[in-house]
């Protein structure tokens, strides 16, 4: 009973039990019981709409996440390596970090229309500054002595980048990716709620208008499960692989 899985599940089980109990006592349509939610979940799965909207949302998450990581890494590495660039972009960065996500989303929709590209752009723009900050730290921490080894042994620029430089950045990239996933899927839901006609955020909005709390919770649980799975089966193994040498 001391296995970590048991300990992890125990708190979840207790939570569901308490929820069921409170729902029974209150007995209101505004607080459906876990069983009601499970029922709604089964129906949405059977009709196919849950998987469709989930797929659409995940696609947006993947595209905007990749875009934000790519752009954020390039800017972060450049800023970490050039004091001048760092100084000149730093104020913009602070600004970017502090603009509310909602503002970027609204502005993107107003300027670029209620389009897919505007939605993706709004999400990416929200995430890029935090990627830049993390990667910049990493780029500053890169060991110049190891780069000197690469230079003395005349490794090609490509080898130096992929085998000496990026491995040192890897923990920072992982940190950026981890916080990135957590942030981006939340923003994607808002983007969908405000200006898309599909995706989990759009569905939640519709359910909200019908006060269909069971469906809201069903979608939420499903979506959270997918994110947990990504964390457990993609991010954590990648992280383990990258830090295997730290034993």
């Amino acid at each position: 009973m001391n296995h970590p899985i048991w300990i992890r599940s125990l708190s979840l089980l207790a939570f569901f039990a308490a929820w069921q109990l409170v729902a029974l006592i209150i007995h209101s349509p505004l607080l459906p019981s876990p069983l009601d939610v499970a029922h709604a979940l089964r129906e949405h799965l059977a009709s196919g709409d849950l998987l469709y909207h989930l797929g659409v949302t995940m696609a947006r998450v993947v595209v905007s996440f990749s875009l934000a990581m790519l752009i954020g890494c390039v800017i972060g590495i450049l800023m970490g390596n050039s004091r001048r660039l760092d100084l000149s972009l730093d104020s913009l960065l602070v600004l970017g970090l502090n603009i509310p996500a909602l503002v970027t989303i609204i502005l993107c929709y107003i300027w670029f229309g209620l389009t897919e590209a505007a939605a993706i752009l709004a999400v990416a723009v929200n995430k890029i500054p935090t990627v830049v900050v993390t990667v910049r730290e990493g780029a500053k921490a890169v060991d110049r002595k190891l780069l000197a080894v690469a230079k003395a042994y005349r490794l090609s620029p490509y080898q130096t980048l992929t085998r000496v430089y990026l491995p040192q950045l890897y923990p920072y990239l992982m940190a950026a990716a981890r916080s990135g996933i957590a942030l981006i899927w939340k923003i994607v839901l808002v983007v969908e709620l405000l200006g898309r006609s599909n995706g989990v955020g759009f569905q939640l909005h519709s359910f909200f208008q019908f006060f269909d709390i069971s469906s809201i919770l069903a979608y939420t649980l499903m979506f959270a499960a997918v994110i947990l799975a990504i964390e457990a089966w993609i991010i954590r193994p990648l992280e383990r692989r990258a830090t295997g040498w730290r034993t």
């Binding site: 000197a148 080894v149 230079k151 003395a152 490794l155 000496v164 491995p167 040498w245 730290r246 034993t247």
Partner: protein, 254 residues
Amino acid sequence: MSRLQVLIEDKRFDAHGAVLSHLEFAADDGEFIALVGPSGAGKSTLLHILAGLDSRYQGSMLWDGRPMYGKDSNPPRLGMLFQDPRLMPWMSVRDNIELVMKGQHGAAALADALLQEVGLGQWVDAWPGQLSGGMQRRVALARAFAVKPQLMLMDEPFVSLDLPTANRLRESLLALWQRYRPLVLFVTHDLREALAMADRVLFLSAMPSRILLDYRVTERHSRDLDSQDIAGLQNRLLAEHPGLLSGLLGGVEA
């Protein structure tokens, strides 16, 4: 014409005086040359320039009569040992060596053979962090020879090691050098180490450094730093040139 011809007219770091000035020497294949001088005499700076890590100097470095770096250059295959091992901690010991071999044919086999030779045959798959400092330096030594170097630059590679470990590493180095015969430039501040290892010792002056004395080591019968032989060589040399090491005696700075 000598294989390596070095003339550093002037090297200075921003807003400081010259570190190297009119430093000139030539060397040939298979020579084992020690560079000896007081701390801060710019020995490391000289090696960094020779390794192509620092190009802000005035002067010329020729390999076979052609510039070693820059345009129309003819760089020698270069092995380098730094004061610290400088292994990539995220790569296995073998991968560290294969890295500098740049995917040449049979790299893995040669890497394993070299590691065997420096006594690390059991450790090819280990992470550098699992090895002791002395073992890490062995890996760095194997790495330096993995490129089949024509020129080997060593910047006090055995400093801050305990005596037995340093002695074993010196033996490994000499064995590898005798096998591959690169031109070695070995920086040390320990005169006994220089006299025990090298055929030729270049003494550097204090800053701005130039070559004070180009001394050929003859009549050496032992390579043991603590032998009578080396002590005798050292005493004779210092008797002849009392000012040679001002501030330096037997590797201990006064």
